[in-house]
Symmetry: C2
Subunit: 290 residues, 2 copies
DNA sequence: TTCATATGATAGCTAGGCTAACATACAGAA
DNA sequence: TTCTGTATGTTAGCCTAGCTATCATATGAA
């Protein structure tokens, strides 16, 4: 396709609108520009083709036979473009929004609540994608990601969803009635920690417990350390939203909780991506923590 | 047609080229932009539609099924636009170029020569439009105008074609052998002048003849005054190119001629209008005065 | 004649489109 | 395995195509 002989697509669009309306002013209103812009485009096309396309007729403009032929072809072409665009937008509206969440957050916070979203929005399908890492929203085609941290990530828009201070918990069977007021009271316990979470070790150290002098077992994932605690094997540390579910069910007991934590669960999105359904879901997420 | 839901036409063009080539770099070469421009456009479209359109595949890019559907529609649409544009350009190439000339210039300078142009360029049709006034090239759909004056017109490109100093002439039958060296020698003659040409009166006055003391008849048009002179009724003043034809035929005798005149015949065009045939004709016009 | 609404013309503004430059990734040749 | 050519990814910053604002003239209805 030799684009050299084809004039400005914006000029062609302006001309097609002017020809369809028989008026520069009406075309301007249609395209949200001034009549001057339409006029300039049409003149430029007449210069490019070396033929008059429209001419004055009273207050409006009449299309010449040459102009009529061009306008008809352009109408067909832009009609195809409009149809293809609309079809794709409709298709995008029907696809599930892809949400990346950590497995623990999904199990303990989101799943218990997602039924409410489905009830309220049966027209919006949500595809939950468990993932442990911070992903690339664009490359991985993710609409929303929920991640635990300080929210200071580049390239995405992040808003805090809910606070997630560290919480020390253990199974009732492990505690056997032991009383605790602070982390230091837990000295001598068996610690079950996620080897990846240096923040947890820091929190414990900052609260009077030297982990180097404690009985600590490090697990490859937080899920494994959590399951070990649920089995009554010792004390573990969970983010508050994850812990709350287990505590409510009585499977774990809250021993000590971090107040005013800098870390939280955040909602990550790409604002340049237009997606109304994604926006509805994010709004619902935030309504669950109000 | 709701243009609000339709993304940038330039972005759609970039995407169609990338899809057709399976490569940002090849599309860039096709459209004479950088691969970065293509990449940005495709990403912007993916954000607009909320769907991936192309994805990495080794060194090139593969089109997704959604992208393929869009690309096919765009290919059809841009094909229509290309066809319509090319057809109109071809049509413009075949139409006659419209040349506006004054009747006297046509009769005395152009018509004796135009046969040479037709012989050299049988493929270019020239439509001669006699007109007395300076016209609006665009409004009147004129490709070339040839006009007499100082060339200082706004809104058009003018280049001098041939000098056109004033020339005093009379029929041999009127002169009856009278000898002249300058205009002053013509005192006492009957002057036949175009009432519209104040420049001619000025020239005569500047060369020693007070027309207020002469026998002067003013005509409504230059043609009438010229025909009166051809009939032997007196002395008239013509632009040199108009006079030269009559002098060569012996119908008129040159009495006195203006040297280094500021006025000339000029070729007027609109450079913003693209028209190769017009350019060929203008080039030929200038070759006739080299 | 007056008034509303059209197009014509153009100086000047601005943001969409692009480039330049540097990055990483892929694939084939040596 | 290494090197090289060529692909895409990213982004700061430039710039001109596209537009607006403004004032002009022209048209047609009241």
């Amino acid at each position: 396709m030799n684009w050299h002989d084809i004039p400005s697509l914006l000029a062609l669009r302006a001309f097609e609108a002017a020809a369809r309306h028989g008026s520069f002013s009406a075309a301007a209103r249609d395209l949200n520009v001034t009549h001057a812009a339409i006029g300039q485009h049409v003149r430029a096309l007449e210069d490019h083709f070396g033929l008059p396309l429209m001419q004055r007729e009273g207050r409006g403009m009449a299309v010449t036979p040459d102009g009529r032929r061009l306008a008809d072809s352009l109408g067909d072409a832009f009609g195809l473009i409009a149809s293809a665009s609309t079809d794709l937008l409709d298709q995008a509206k029907t696809r599930a929004i892809r949400v990346s969440i950590t497995p623990s957050f999904a199990a303990n916070w989101l799943m218990p609540r997602i039924g409410g979203f489905w009830d309220a929005h049966p027209d919006i399908e949500v595809e939950l994608i468990p993932s442990m890492q911070l992903i690339d929203l664009r490359r991985d085609n993710i609409d929303v990601a929920i991640r635990y941290g300080d929210g200071n990530w580049t390239g995405v828009h992040s808003t805090p969803l809910l606070s997630a201070g560290h919480t020390a918990v253990a199974a009732p069977s492990y505690l056997k009635g032991c009383d605790t007021d602070c982390l230091a009271d837990l000295k001598g316990s068996r610690w079950l920690l996620d080897g990846n979470r240096s923040e947890e070790k820091l929190w414990v150290a900052q609260n009077g417990v030297d982990l180097d002098e404690e009985d600590v077992t490090y697990f490859a994932t937080g899920q494994l350390s959590r399951e070990a605690a649920l089995a009554g094997l010792g004390v573990t540390i969970l983010p508050a939203p994850v812990a709350s579910g287990h505590i409510a069910s009585g499977a774990l007991v809250k021993l000590c909780e971090e107040i005013d934590s800098a870390v939280a669960y955040h909602v990550l999105t790409r604002p340049e991506a237009v997606n109304p359904a994604r926006d509805v879901f994010v709004k619902w997420l935030k309504s669950q923590t109000a």
